[in-house]
C-alpha cells in the first residue's frame, strides 16, 4: 500500500500540471524580484499614481468636458510613460524568460509520438526539381502507413508514419544526392521534442528547433514532425489548457502575491 501511495505521489509530482504550478511560482518570484531590482521603482510608483489621478479626475470633474478630454489624453500619455518604465526591466527579463519558455515548450507544449499512432513527417525542399529526388530511410521501429504525398505547389513531401516502439529515432531524408536526419521521439512520458529541423532560419531554429541546422548546401529546407499539442488537464470538470496559458495565469497570481509581500512596485 505505501508503495502504491509513493507511486501515486511520484506520478502526481512529475505530472505536467504540478511542474507548471511549481515553475510558475518559482519564476513568478524570480521575475518579480528581478523586476524590482532592475526597474526604477519610484518612477513606476509615481507613474501609476498619476494614472490613477487622471482616472479620478474624469470622475471628479465629469461635467467639465475639457477636464474629461484632457484627462483621457493624460491617461494615454501616462500609460505610455508607464510602459516605457516597464520596458527597461523587460530588457533584463525577456531574454532569459523567452529562452526558458522555448525550452519548456518543447516538453510541456507538445506530446511525443505515441506508439502505434500515425503521425506526419513533412519535408520541405527549396526547388521543384529536388522534390522528385526526395527519399526516406526509416529505422525498423518506424514504418510508413501510406505512400508519400507530393505537394508540388509547396515543394513538400508528406509521409504518414507509425512507430512501433518507444525511443528516439533518426529518420534519414535524401534529396538531390545529399542526406539529412531528423530525430523522432516516441514516448508516453514527458519528453523534450524538436518539431522542426531547419536549414538556416536562425530565429525559427532558436524558437522551434532543438536540433542543429541542416547543411547550408542541402536541398532540404526543413523537416517537420507533427507532434501533437499537449493540453494539461486541470482536474476541474474535465477542463484542459495549454501550458503557456496556465503558466501565464499562475505566474501572474504568484507575481501579484510576491509583489505585495515584497513591496515591489509593478
Amino acid at each position: 500500500m505505501p508503495s502504491h501511495l509513493a507511486l501515486l505521489l511520484a506520478s502526481w509530482i512529475t505530472s505536467p500540471l504540478m511542474i507548471v504550478v511549481v515553475l510558475s511560482v518559482v519564476i513568478g518570484l524570480l521575475m518579480i524580484v528581478l523586476f524590482g531590482y532592475t526597474s526604477d521603482q519610484k518612477a513606476i510608483g509615481v507613474a501609476k499614481d498619476q494614472l490613477k489621478a487622471h482616472l479620478l479626475a474624469v470622475r471628479l470633474y465629469r461635467d467639465q468636458l475639457h477636464v474629461v478630454m484632457g484627462s483621457y489624453g493624460k491617461v494615454l500619455r501616462g500609460t505610455g510613460r508607464y510602459l516605457k518604465l516597464a520596458f527597461k526591466p523587460l530588457l533584463y527579463v525577456i531574454i532569459p524568460i523567452t529562452l526558458m519558455i522555448v525550452w519548456l515548450d518543447r516538453s510541456l507544449g507538445l506530446t511525443a509520438i505515441q506508439t502505434n499512432t500515425p503521425f506526419l513527417l513533412t519535408v520541405h525542399v527549396n526547388n521543384l526539381q529536388a522534390l522528385d529526388t526526395v527519399s526516406i530511410d526509416l529505422p525498423p521501429e518506424i514504418t510508413a502507413s501510406a505512400p508519400p504525398v507530393h505537394i508540388a505547389a509547396d515543394n513538400e513531401v508528406v509521409w504518414r508514419l507509425v512507430a512501433s516502439h518507444e525511443g528516439a529515432y533518426d529518420v534519414k531524408i535524401g534529396a538531390s544526392g545529399q542526406s539529412a536526419a531528423k530525430t523522432v521521439r516516441v514516448s508516453p512520458e514527458l519528453a523534450q521534442v524538436s518539431p522542426e529541423r531547419w536549414r538556416g532560419h536562425f530565429w525559427e531554429r532558436m524558437f522551434t528547433s532543438g536540433e542543429s541546422a541542416l547543411p547550408s548546401d542541402s536541398a532540404v529546407e526543413s523537416i517537420t514532425v507533427d507532434y501533437p499539442e499537449r493540453n494539461i488537464p486541470l482536474g476541474i470538470a474535465g477542463y484542459e489548457m495549454n501550458w503557456i496559458w496556465l503558466f501565464f495565469i499562475l505566474s501572474m497570481i504568484a507575481g501579484f502575491i510576491f509583489k505585495e509581500l515584497l513591496g515591489i512596485e509593478v
Binding site: G28, M31, I32, L34, F35, Y37, T38, S39, Q41, K42, K48, D49, Q50, K52, A53, H54, L55, L56, A57, V58, R59, L60, Y61, R62, D63, Q64, H66, V67, V68, M69, S71, Y72, V75, L76, G78, T79, Y82, L83, A86, L90, L91, V93, I94, I95, I97, T98, I101, V102, D105, G109, W203, F207, M252, A254, G255, F256, K259, G263, E265, V266
Partner: protein, 741 residues
C-alpha cells in the same frame, strides 16, 4: 542649516544602488547587443514568447486596463454630457446666464496685514498686489468679533455673524465641567462594543459632527449649477456635500485626534514636559543601532482607554557623514542633519486587521553626541483617509496621487515645536514653505480644472510665519532679545514677496472674465506682553481660589467655583459663572447685566503698569455684538486687547497666576486675537468695488450677487457694488438682474 531633501536623496527603495550598478554594467557594448536581441524577439513574435514574466504582464495588463477604464469614463461623460446639460438647463435654467463673471477666484491669505501690505507696496516690493490696488480694489477688510481665524473664515463662508454660525474661538466652553472642547467639530467613536477575547471591537459608525452652523455660499452656487473648487478653507471639517470639490483645512485633526502633536525622539534624559503640542519619546540603543517609536492614536480595540498604538523605527547614525539611515516599516531612507524626510506612510496596527493610516515626516536634529529626531504630528493619509477630509472622499486621494502625500492637519505648520525650541527658525520655515508649495500646486490644478465657477484656496503660511517671526520686525521684542540684530532675517518681508509672486502667477492664468479677490481674515500686531485675565479676575475678586492657594493649575484646578463670579478660557472670551447655566453657577441671571457692565468698565482701558500703555482697548458685551440662534453659546464678554498685548498662554488654558502682565518670551510673537478694530484684514480685487467699509461678512453675498443669485434672507453681510468702470469693462458682463437684496 535645514533644508528639504532634494528630490533624489530621500526615500530610497531597496536595491536602488544595486539597480544603478546593473544599469551601468549593461550600458555600452552589451546594451547594443541586448537591444538587437530584444528587437529581434519583438519583431519575430512566436506564440510561446509573447509573454515575458509577471512584471511585464502586469505592466501590459494595467496599461490596457487604465486605457479601458479611462475610455469608459470618458465615453460615459461624453455621451451623457448633453443629457446632463439639458437636465441642468431645465432644472436651474442657465447657471451662468445672470453671472457678471464666468469665474471668481478668491485667494485667502490668512492674516495678511493691510498696513504691512501697504508699506511693502510703497517700497515697491509687491508689484502684483500693487497692480490689483491700481486697477481694482485695495481696502481694509473688517473682521469678526473676535478676530480669530475659525470665527472669521466661518463668517466668510456663511455670510453671517458668529451668533448664526456658532464658532466663537478655536475652543468652546463646556459649562458643566469648566473645560474646553474643540468648537468646530466633534468626533464620537461608536458607543457599542463587542468583546472577543482581549479585544473590545467597536460596533457602529464613528460620528463626526460639524459644530459650525450656517450654509457655506458654495452650496448656494452648487444648487444653481455653479461648480466650486474649495481648498483648505478653515472650519470645513467634516466636509459637507455640494456640487464641487473641497479639501478641508484648519481644524482637521491629526491621527491622534489632537490639533497636532509632534514627537521629539531623543537619547537625552527626559526633560520637562512640553507645555502643549508635543511629546518626548526615548531613543534606546540596541546592538549598535538606535530604536524609537512614533506615537499614534489610542488602540480602539483595547478594553480601556489610554493604550497608545506605536510604530517602532530604527535609526542608524553615521556621525562622520552627519546622516542617519531610518527604517520605518518597509520604508528605508537616509537623511542629513537639518533635513526632512519626505512624507512617510505609517500604519498603526490595532489587531484583528484594524489599522490606522497616517503620514509623517522625520527631521534629523542631531547624530552626535546625542541622537535626536523630530517627528511631525501624524497626519491623516490623504491617499488613504481614515477620516473624511475632502468632498468627495476621492478628492484627497486624487490630489495625493497627482502630487504625492501632503499635510492634511488643520494647523500643519508646527508652531509649538518652534515655541518649544524643538525646531529652529530654518527648520520651521522649511516645513511651512514645504506645505505652502503643496497648496500652490493644488491651487493651480483647481484653477486649471475650474474654468467656470468658484475657485477658492486659503493659505495658512501667512498666518503662521507672522505669528512666529514678528519678533524680528521689532527692535525690542522680548522674544528676540537674545537674537543679535544682524541675525534677524527679513522673514515677513520675504513672505509677502512670495505671496505677491503667487498672485502674479495666478494673474497669468486668468482672463478678464475672472474676478480675482485676495482677502485675509484679519491683520496682525505684535504680541510682546501677555495678560492673564484670570489673574486679573482673581485679584479683583471675581474669581476665587481654594483656601491657601495663590495660583491654580491648568483648566481651573484649585478654583473655588462656589465663590467665583467670572472666569476666562480661550483667547478673548470671558464667562460669567451663571446660575442655571454653569454647573456651580453663583451669579443670578438678574444680576448678570450689571456684573457684565461692571467688569467692562473696569477692564476697558486697563493699563499695563510696567509700560504705562493701555493693555485693553475695547470690551464688548456679546449680547450687543451677536444676533442669532446660537448666541447663547457665546462667551458673555469679549476682551479686545491693545496692540502688543494678548491673553497669556496660561490664561488661555484656564490657569490663574500671580502676575497679570508679563513679557511674551515665545517665538509666537505676533498675534491678532486682540481688539478686532485694530486688526482688519485686506481686500484686493482685480475689479473695482465701491464700498467704504467692506467686511468679511460681505464676501458671501457679494459672490452670490455677482453670479446672479438671490441672497438668502438670513445673511448679515451686504453685497458690494462694482464700480461703473468695472461693469462693462472687457470681459465683465452687465448684470442681468438688479442687485439682490
Amino acid at each position: 542649516m535645514s533644508r528639504l531633501c532634494s528630490a533624489d536623496t530621500p526615500v530610497r527603495v531597496p536595491g536602488s544602488s544595486q539597480k544603478q550598478r546593473w544599469s551601468s554594467a549593461f550600458a555600452g557594448v552589451g546594451a547594443r547587443a541586448t537591444w538587437a536581441i530584444l528587437l529581434a524577439i519583438v519583431l519575430c513574435p512566436v506564440a510561446a514568447h509573447a509573454y515575458a514574466g509577471p512584471g511585464a504582464g502586469f505592466a501590459v495588463l494595467s496599461s490596457f486596463w487604465a486605457i479601458f477604464v479611462a475610455f469608459l469614463y470618458s465615453f460615459y461623460a461624453l455621451a451623457t454630457w448633453p443629457v446632463r446639460q439639458l437636465f441642468r438647463f431645465f432644472r436651474r435654467r442657465n447657471a451662468y446666464g445672470k453671472a457678471v463673471f464666468d469665474r471668481a477666484v478668491i485667494l485667502g491669505f490668512d492674516g495678511m496685514d493691510p498696513e504691512l501690505a501697504d508699506r511693502f507696496m510703497k517700497e515697491g516690493r509687491l508689484p502684483n498686489l500693487s497692480k490689483l490696488r491700481d486697477r481694482g480694489t485695495f481696502a481694509k477688510l473688517r473682521t469678526t468679533f473676535p478676530a480669530i481665524s475659525p470665527v472669521a473664515w466661518s463668517t466668510f463662508m456663511t455670510g453671517v455673524n458668529p451668533g448664526k454660525h456658532n464658532i466663537y474661538d478655536f475652543l468652546a466652553c463646556d459649562r458643566n465641567h469648566y473645560l474646553p472642547f474643540l468648537s468646530s467639530a466633534e468626533i464620537k467613536g461608536p458607543t457599542r462594543q463587542i468583546k472577543i477575547g482581549k479585544y473590545s471591537i467597536p460596533f457602529g459608525k464613528t460620528e463626526i459632527k460639524n459644530m459650525r452652523k450656517g450654509t457655506p455660499f458654495w452650496h448656494w452656487l452648487g444648487k444653481a449649477g455653479i461648480f466650486s473648487s474649495v481648498i483648505r478653507v478653515p472650519v470645513t471639517f467634516p466636509p459637507e456635500k455640494f456640487q464641487g470639490v473641497l479639501l478641508s483645512g484648519m481644524c482637521v485633526p491629526d491621527l491622534k485626534g489632537s490639533q497636532g502633536t509632534f514627537c521629539l525622539c531623543t537619547t537625552r534624559a527626559v526633560g520637562d514636559k512640553f507645555r502643549e503640542g508635543g511629546v518626548r519619546a526615548p531613543i534606546e540603543r540596541k546592538n549598535g543601532s538606535f530604536h524609537a517609536y512614533v506615537p499614534g492614536p489610542d488602540n480602539p480595540l483595547a478594553e480601556t482607554a489610554g493604550h497608545e498604538m506605536r510604530v517602532d523605527y530604527e535609526i542608524k547614525p553615521d556621525v562622520a557623514a552627519q546622516t542617519a539611515r531610518l527604517t520605518v516599516g518597509s520604508e528605508k531612507f537616509t537623511i542629513k542633519v537639518g533635513e526632512y524626510s519626505e512624507w512617510i506612510p505609517i500604519e498603526f496596527k490595532a489587531g484583528l486587521g484594524f489599522n490606522a493610516h497616517g503620514i509623517c515626516r522625520f527631521y534629523l536634529k542631531e547624530v552626535s553626541p546625542e541622537v535626536e529626531v523630530y517627528v511631525t504630528p501624524v497626519n491623516i493619509d490623504p491617499g488613504h483617509p481614515d477620516l473624511p477630509i475632502s468632498h468627495p472622499v476621492t478628492y484627497s486621494v486624487y490630489l495625493a496621487k497627482l502630487f504625492g502625500a501632503f499635510a492634511t492637519l488643520g494647523l500643519a505648520e508646527d508652531t509649538w515645536a518652534l515655541n518649544e525650541h524643538v525646531l529652529d527658525d530654518d527648520a520651521f520655515l522649511a516645513q511651512a514653505y514645504g506645505n505652502h508649495e503643496d497648496r500652490e500646486k493644488m491651487l493651480f490644478d483647481a484653477l486649471d480644472k475650474t474654468r467656470q465657477g468658484l475657485c477658492t484656496c486659503v493659505f495658512d503660511t501667512t498666518d503662521r510665519i507672522q505669528h512666529m517671526f514678528w519678533r524680528y520686525l521689532e527692535e525690542d521684542h522680548p522674544a528676540a532679545r537674545d537674537v543679535p540684530k544682524a541675525e534677524r532675517r527679513e522673514v515677513i518681508q520675504d513672505l509677502y514677496q512670495r505671496m505677491d509672486k503667487l498672485i502674479g502667477r495666478v494673474m497669468e492664468k486668468i482672463d478678464d472674465d475672472t474676478l480675482l479677490m485676495v482677502i485675509s481674515d484679519h491683520g496682525f500686531k505684535s504680541f510682546a506682553r501677555c495678560m492673564n485675565l484670570n489673574a486679573w479676575l482673581h485679584q479683583n475678586g471675581y474669581l476665587a481660589l481654594k483656601e491657601g492657594k495663590t495660583e491654580s493649575g491648568d483648566w481651573f484646578e484649585d478654583v473655588d467655583w462656589s465663590r467665583t463670579r467670572a472666569y476666562t478660557m480661550g483667547l478673548n472670551g470671558l464667562y460669567l459663572n451663571l446660575k442655571g447655566r454653569e454647573k456651580q453657577g453663583t451669579v443670578d441671571p438678574s444680576e448678570a447685566d450689571a456684573l457684565k457692565e461692571e467688569i467692562k468698565q473696569k477692564l476697558n482701558g486697563l493699563v499695563d503698569p510696567a509700560s504705562g500703555t493701555v493693555g485693553i482697548t475695547g470690551v464688548f458685551l456679546t449680547s450687543n455684538v451677536y444676533r442669532g440662534p446660537y448666541s447663547e453659546n457665546a462667551p458673555d464678554i469679549l476682551v479686545g486687547y491693545g496692540a502688543g498685548y494678548r491673553a497669556s498662554w496660561d490664561s488661555v488654558m484656564g490657569k490663574v497666576t500671580e502676575k497679570i502682565f508679563e513679557d511674551n518670551m515665545k517665538a509666537w510673537s505676533g498675534d491678532h486675537c486682540i481688539d478686532p478694530r485694530l486688526v482688519p484684514g485686506v481686500l484686493f480685487s482685480s475689479h473695482k468695488f465701491i464700498e467704504e467699509k467692506p467686511a468679511i461678512v460681505d464676501v458671501a453675498p457679494t459672490i452670490l450677487k455677482l453670479f446672479g443669485l438671490a441672497l438668502p434672507s438670513h445673511f448679515d453681510g451686504k453685497p458690494w457694488n462694482l464700480a461703473p468702470q468695472a461693469v462693462g469693462a472687457v470681459g465683465v458682463k452687465t448684470p442681468a438682474v438688479s442687485p439682490a437684496t
